[in-house]
């Protein structure tokens, strides 16, 4: 299947409608569906959430675009609803968290490998090793608080071992800023990758901020506070690789194209036919949104969307275990740290970050406490202990 972004019209906006029954479909099975179906659902939810957020911000800064923004945004909102409601009620909040971190690891690793810009690829690998460590800490939490095995969610696709230690990930805000791509020279896929990963991290930050206070256990409350803070750092990092000189409509075009690219990728890899039909429907919806924005771009900027968009969509994002790449990255880059916009050895960290970290960790580290002596074993560490 090929999609031509410049010619495709998609589903007309006035035909993009829902009913409550349509929005709230039967959820996936936590036990029987493939883990990558959940990964795709979580990623798509993050993309829709970010599309909605971006369009709200635009609306606050532009009077003329308010009406088309409101119309498209309502659909994006309902798309997000249908997608997010596919997660079944038997996922505990920590189990869903394991799913979120699986998205962060597997999707970031896939994108790091297809990213043509070496600096941006490094940015993704840097963030990857941090999310990888979160998986280890949250798996310990799930085991030690709920008595459950994180691998019931991961289905053996993703390793559970430490990455760059979460306790060392806390940096001064200025060490989370990165150099941005150049809107005039960057490949379209680089621009779209940035939106995909930033969207994923942003929803993760928001999810942890929402569920953190629902826990009774002070260890869980502290751990979510700690890792939400890193996710905030990651949103800062990934937000800063985007060129701030892109016009609002240029950005909007890229958002819509990226949503289409992602649905196309989800569609290509989905194994659950019912969910696949949703990705197919929403690819057409996004192409419909893109069509509206292409016309707005021509009207207000008097420019050709072909200046921004590629004709064909890039190779689909693969949804499969990236174990070997993650292990190699871990081996080679675990000691990297950030100093300003550059990546340096841990011996060269900025004083600002060291001071920040020393203070925030000065009354103890939840991520270290929750995982002291933790090693994943099939059936939880209690199974390991008795063997």
């Amino acid at each position: 299947m090929s999609v031509n972004l410049l010619d495709a019209r998609g589903t007309p906006l006035d035909q993009q409608r829902f009913t409550w029954r349509d929005l709230v479909q039967d959820p996936i099975s936590k036990l029987d569906d493939d883990a990558f179906t959940r990964v795709r659902i979580i990623l798509a939810n993050g993309l829709e959430q970010q599309a909605n957020r971006f369009q709200h911000m635009c609306s606050q800064m532009n009077k003329e675009l308010r009406e088309p923004l409101a119309m498209i945004r309502r659909v994006e909102h309902h798309q997000q609803t249908m997608i997010n409601w596919l997660l079944s009620s038997d996922h505990s909040p920590i189990e869903t968290t394991i799913g979120y971190e699986q998205v962060a690891i597997e999707v970031t690793a896939a994108i790091a490998q297809q990213e043509p810009d070496p600096y941006l690829a490094q940015v993704y690998r840097f963030g990857l090793l941090e999310d990888f460590d979160h998986m280890y800490r949250y798996s310990a939490l799930l085991d030690r608080v709920e008595g459950k095995d994180a691998n019931n969610i991961l289905q053996s696709y993703t390793d559970i071992v430490p990455g760059r230690p979460t306790v060392d990930e806390h940096r001064h805000p200025t060490d989370d800023l990165r150099d941005h791509y150049d809107r005039k020279t960057a490949a379209p896929v680089s621009k779209m990758n940035a939106l995909t990963i930033m969207s994923g991290e942003y929803q993760t930050r928001d999810y942890y901020m929402n569920i953190g206070p629902t826990f009774s256990d002070p260890v869980a409350r502290q751990l979510y506070a700690e890792i939400a803070s890193i996710e905030e750092q990651h949103v800062t990092q990934y937000g800063s690789i985007i060129d701030p000189d892109e016009t609002m409509l240029e950005k909007w075009l890229l958002y819509e194209a990226n949503e289409a690219y992602n649905y196309y990728s989800l569609l290509e890899s989905e194994t659950n036919p019912r969910i696949k039909a949703i990705w197919e429907r929403f690819l057409e919806y996004e192409l419909g949104h893109l069509d509206v924005v292409k016309n707005l771009f021509k009207k207000y900027e008097r420019r050709d969307p072909a200046e921004i968009l590629p004709e064909a969509l890039p190779t689909p994002i693969p949804f499969e275990s990236q174990r070997d790449f993650v292990r190699k990255t871990l081996e080679e880059e675990i000691n990297l740290r950030a100093n300003g916009t550059q990546f340096v050895d841990k011996s060269e960290e900025s004083k600002a970050s060291l001071d920040y970290r020393n203070h925030i960790n000065s009354e103890g580290s939840p991520s270290e406490a929750v995982s002291a002596g933790y090693q994943w074993a099939p059936g939880t560490e209690l199974a390991r202990k008795s063997s």
């Binding site: 036990l31 071992v161 002070p218 099939p378």
Partner: protein, 245 residues
């Protein structure tokens, strides 16, 4: 057979992905870890437990009156707030219990295919629902008679509600089977039985003889609920096991 006990493509176990699981275990062997250590977690929990802030307080009654006044002598040496807290808990539990039965009854009536209906009597479930409702009203009246506010949420009501959250989720989840729901209901009824026994004893201890007699009647009904639900769970499970042979 109920849909909860079908064989299928459950992917959660390590055995379902032998190649990936082997690779995952190999990764573990490269990573050295010390002994399991929960001291850090204990230290965090302890630092909060030591603050000793309760979830909240028992609401102040306007005035103690009615039964509490008539049993004044025996009330001496007892804290009436304990009774109010427990009455509030029972009221909330019985009220939520009505909703649990409502959810189950609706589910059974909606599911035409469920084989369990030849074992589980919907009329009996409706009767139990009515009894839960009567118990709620009974506790409400007792609270009003002692000057306590039955609309307030007492600390034990709040915490009992927290403990029962999962039961409500099981009952209203469309994908759960009749036996899964009944097993969740069994948890509620077992807790309820223990709680009524305690409430009867507390009222007796406080000299509230009329109230404790009323509560005894509720306890007797709750014992029947428990016995019946336990029996249904047993019959459904054994029935499924037989058919599977």
């Amino acid at each position: 057979m109920e849909k909860s006990t079908q064989l299928g493509m459950n992917r959660t176990g390590a055995d379902m992905s032998p190649i990936h699981s082997k690779a995952m275990l190999k990764g573990q062997s490269l990573f050295k870890v010390g002994p399991i250590d929960s001291t850090g977690m204990a230290a965090i929990r302890s630092s909060y437990v030591q603050l000793k802030e309760p979830v909240g307080s028992v609401p102040l009654p306007g005035t103690f009156k009615g039964v509490l006044t008539s049993g004044k002598e025996k009330m001496t040496g007892h804290n009436p707030e304990v009774l109010i807290n427990k009455l509030g808990e029972r009221l909330a539990f019985e009220r939520s219990g009505v909703r649990l039965y409502d959810a189950l009854i609706m589910k059974i009536e909606a599911d035409k295919a469920d084989e369990g209906k030849d074992i589980v009597s919907i009329n009996l479930l409706k009767q139990f629902r009515e009894e839960e409702y009567e118990h709620f009203l009974m506790v409400k009246e007792v609270m009003e008679s002692v000057g306590a506010d039955p609309t307030a949420q007492t600390p034990d009501a709040d915490v009992a509600g927290l403990a029962a959250l999962g039961i409500q989720k099981v009952m209203t989840e469309p994908r759960t089977s009749l036996s899964q729901c009944l097993e969740a209901l069994l948890t509620a009824e077992m807790t309820d039985n223990g709680a009524w026994e305690l409430l009867v004893e507390l009222c007796e201890e406080m000299g509230l003889d009329d109230t404790s007699a009323e509560f005894r009647r509720a306890l007797a009904q709750e014992e029947k609920h428990l016995e019946q639900i336990k029996s249904w769970v047993r019959q459904l499970t054994m029935g499924q096991a037989e058919k599977a042979l």
